[in-house]
């Protein structure tokens, strides 16, 4: 869950993107043309991203269905197995998913994020599964979670994806990694933080991919640098793979946690420059 409310970002229209419009080049006509071209390109990217994110949310609905069914059926092992992979869809689409400030905490709040009596969602059930090793008494949380996720799916249709959302979203995803996944605080009972970690990185990479053509036009070197840093992060994550998934956070050495954290910093710094795509050529 993200603490800050991201909904503001969606409300901003594309026209606000050009913070530099007070500067006028000598040849204004040509610039205005260029601006329109790049603005419409970015709009295309935004709608592509919207498709991607809605696709992830759809898969999240399906995965949550399986997960909550297992919980309701009392199948602890199955529920444990489904927990982390299901969450990955949500984590990939987080820039969009967490736009709904009321739903995000219901789905993804961790213990202490909200008042105890209001606490439900994935992490509440996670606590039951791993800490108490039970699903008993958690059926109602499963039902509520399913209905919240369905509501999310319905609401997501209304999201207007702006280039702003993309630009802040990519780095926000990595900030999520830096502040909660790499610290092991996200999945504190199941220790499946690396799944969320990977999903956040993949979500950021998707945005980068979509912006790459525009970015290459502005700064090919920056584009190449970002790609290299993504590769570096994936290279490190590769070491922690186990079967189809990832090792437990608790099996990471301190030095490996630090290494992962610094690799995210190294990636997020150049990635934070992607706003350059909004600049006049």
């Amino acid at each position: 869950m993200k603490k800050a409310n991201a909904s503001l970002a969606v409300l901003l229209s594309t026209s606000l993107l050009f913070g530099c419009t007070q500067e006028k080049e000598g040849t204004e006509q040509a610039d205005d043309n260029a601006k329109e071209v790049s603005a419409s390109k970015l709009d295309d990217v935004s709608s592509e991203y919207r498709e991607y994110a809605i696709g992830e949310i759809e898969e999240f609905v399906n995965a949550t269905e399986e997960f909550t069914t297992a919980v309701s059926a009392g199948d602890i092992e199955k529920a444990k197995e489904l927990y982390a992979p299901a969450r990955m869809h949500y984590e990939r689409a987080e820039p969009i998913a967490e736009v709904f400030g009321d739903l995000d905490p219901k789905i993804d709040a961790r213990e202490g994020d909200v008042k105890d009596e209001e606490w439900g969602g994935y992490h509440r059930i996670e606590m039951g599964l791993w800490q108490e090793n039970t699903t008993k008494g958690y059926e109602k949380f499963a039902d509520q979670l399913m209905s919240d996720v369905n509501l999310l799916r319905a609401k997501v249709e209304t999201v207007e994806v702006t280039p702003d959302l993309l630009i802040t979203g990519a780095v926000d995803l990595l900030n999520e990694v830096s502040t909660s996944k790499v610290t092991g605080e996200e999945d504190r009972y199941s220790h499946t933080d690396l799944y969320d970690f990977v999903a956040n990185v993949e979500g950021a990479e998707k945005i980068y991919e979509l912006l790459t053509p525009a970015l290459k036009e502005k700064d090919a070197k920056l584009a190449a640098e970002i790609q290299q840093r993504f590769d570096d992060v994936y290279g490190l994550l590769e070491k922690h793979k186990e079967g189809d998934g990832y090792i437990s956070y608790t099996d990471l050495k301190e030095s490996e946690v630090k290494e992962l954290s610094q690799a995210i910093d190294a990636l997020a710094e150049p990635l934070s420059q992607i706003g350059i795509v909004t600049e006049e050529s």
Partner: protein
């Protein structure tokens, strides 16, 4: 927003200029230094700054030697030891170039980078030093032995350039070194009369290096401020004793050439005008010291605490006579005192530039986590710091109250001329 002179109005600002054009102009003239992120009004040239008398808190960045070595010690230190993570020589060179540019800006009291108005990007400068005095900021860069080769690997084609002197310091008796406080490929020493200014400098340099280098360890340091001691008497360490009474005179070029700057005859060529920097992180057992009787404290240092005078003498700068005896024939300054052992035959001198640190509490013991980040500069560690430290490590009475936890040796690069970059003699 800073005011600007009428000249600006008629020159740069009569027509509307794009940021790009403004930068071009600034670059060509070499005079435009962009200050402030709020717009064109923030443009102020260096010469204008001088006219405003702001140079009084500026230590020149360019010169034959790097600043921050013979510069009178500023009030605060932020020291960072870095590990280089890139394996490309070209990345490393670019990093030094970018650092040089940023360091020149920051030491002149300017923000780094352009004043990009694109609110869709993070600002180039992190901003916390905006409006602050340059605070005599100096930024000193050094290179460690592992930059030249690590685990036998010639990382950047520099292996053959490593001076014989640039290697791990020997293990001294009683050393309790911890890897997390030792070594490093590159060091950045930022000193300023304001800690925020010093931190800002290192933070921005580390940010520039993200993806190419990471922090290996870092330490803040302080000493009494000039405000608190307008007479600028010798600073006291956290044991309450004056530290640095006998230091070579930094205003005496001959002494500096003799003891501090690497000469042609010392080699290698790329380091001539540079200096070797020893860094030792020395933990001080504050609580133990506090319960030590004054006589013992003074015998430990070999000086009187309050005056700083050698034992048996009146004034701080009175001659240290190690042979002086009391009526019973005992040495007045004990042989195992810090003064006595540091001095040796008195020939080997180092330029000490230490800072105290206080890092909260040691969670294990509940004691203060405090001590000294000992820093010294010299021409030749094996003739200067190493023999001194060997004597101290073996016999210094002070060892009961301190322990060396960290250690590093760096070759501080020679100074840089405008147009060049720190390290150009090494990579060129």
């Amino acid at each position: 927003m800073k005011e600007h002179t009428p000249k600006d109005e008629t020159g740069l600002f009569t027509k509307k200029v794009s940021r790009r054009n403004m930068l071009k102009t600034a670059g060509v003239g070499g005079i435009g230094v962009v200050i402030g992120a709020s717009g064109f009004g923030g443009l102020l040239t260096l010469s204008e700054q001088k006219a405003k008398g702001q140079t009084k808190d500026i230590v020149p960045f360019y010169g034959a030697h790097q600043a921050g070595i013979t510069t009178e010690a500023q009030d605060n230190l932020y020291f960072a030891s870095l590990e280089v993570t890139t394996d490309k020589r070209s990345d490393l060179i670019q990093l030094f170039k970018d650092w040089t540019e940023a360091a020149a800006q920051m030491t002149a009291g300017n923000l780094i980078g352009d004043t990009s108005l694109n609110t869709n990007m993070p600002p180039k400068d992190t901003g916390e030093a905006k409006e602050l005095s340059p605070s005599n900021l100096t930024i000193t860069f050094g290179v460690g032995p592992t930059l030249f080769s690590k685990d036998g690997k010639d990382r950047f084609g520099l292996k053959s350039k490593r001076p014989a002197e640039l290697k791990d310091l020997p293990q001294f008796p009683l050393d309790a070194l911890e890897e997390e406080w030792s070594g490093g490929d590159i060091c950045i020493q930022a000193c300023a009369d304001d800690l925020q200014v010093a931190f800002h400098a290192v933070r921005n340099l580390v940010r520039i290096g993200r993806g190419k280098a990471i922090i290996h360890w870092a330490q803040t340091g302080f000493q009494r401020t000039k405000q608190a001691d307008s007479q600028k008497t010798t600073p006291r360490n956290l044991f309450g004793f004056k530290d640095g009474t006998v230091n070579p005179d930094t205003n005496d070029n001959n002494e500096m050439n003799e003891h501090v700057w690497v000469k042609g005859e010392d080699g290698p060529d790329w380091l001539v005008g540079g200096s070797y920097m020893v860094v030792r992180r020395i933990q001080m057992y504050i609580e133990v010291w506090d319960r030590t009787i004054l006589k013992e404290q003074e015998n430990t240092f070999g000086r009187h605490r309050d005056s700083g005078a050698p034992l048996g003498m009146k004034n701080e700068f009175d001659t240290v006579d190690l042979e002086a005896k009391d009526p019973n024939g005992n040495r007045i300054i004990p042989e195992d005192s810090h003064v006595s052992l540091s001095r040796g035959d008195g020939k080997a001198k180092i330029l000490r530039r230490p800072y105290s640190y206080a890092d909260g509490m040691d969670p294990k013991t509940g004691s203060f986590n405090a001590g000294l980040l000992f820093i010294c500069f010299q021409r030749n560690p094996s003739k200067q710091f190493i023999p001194i430290q060997e004597r101290l490590a073996k016999n210094d009475k002070l060892n009961e109250y301190i322990v060396h936890r960290g250690s590093a040796l760096f070759a501080c690069l020679p100074g840089v001329k405008k147009g060049g970059y720190i390290g150009d003699s090494l990579f060129g």
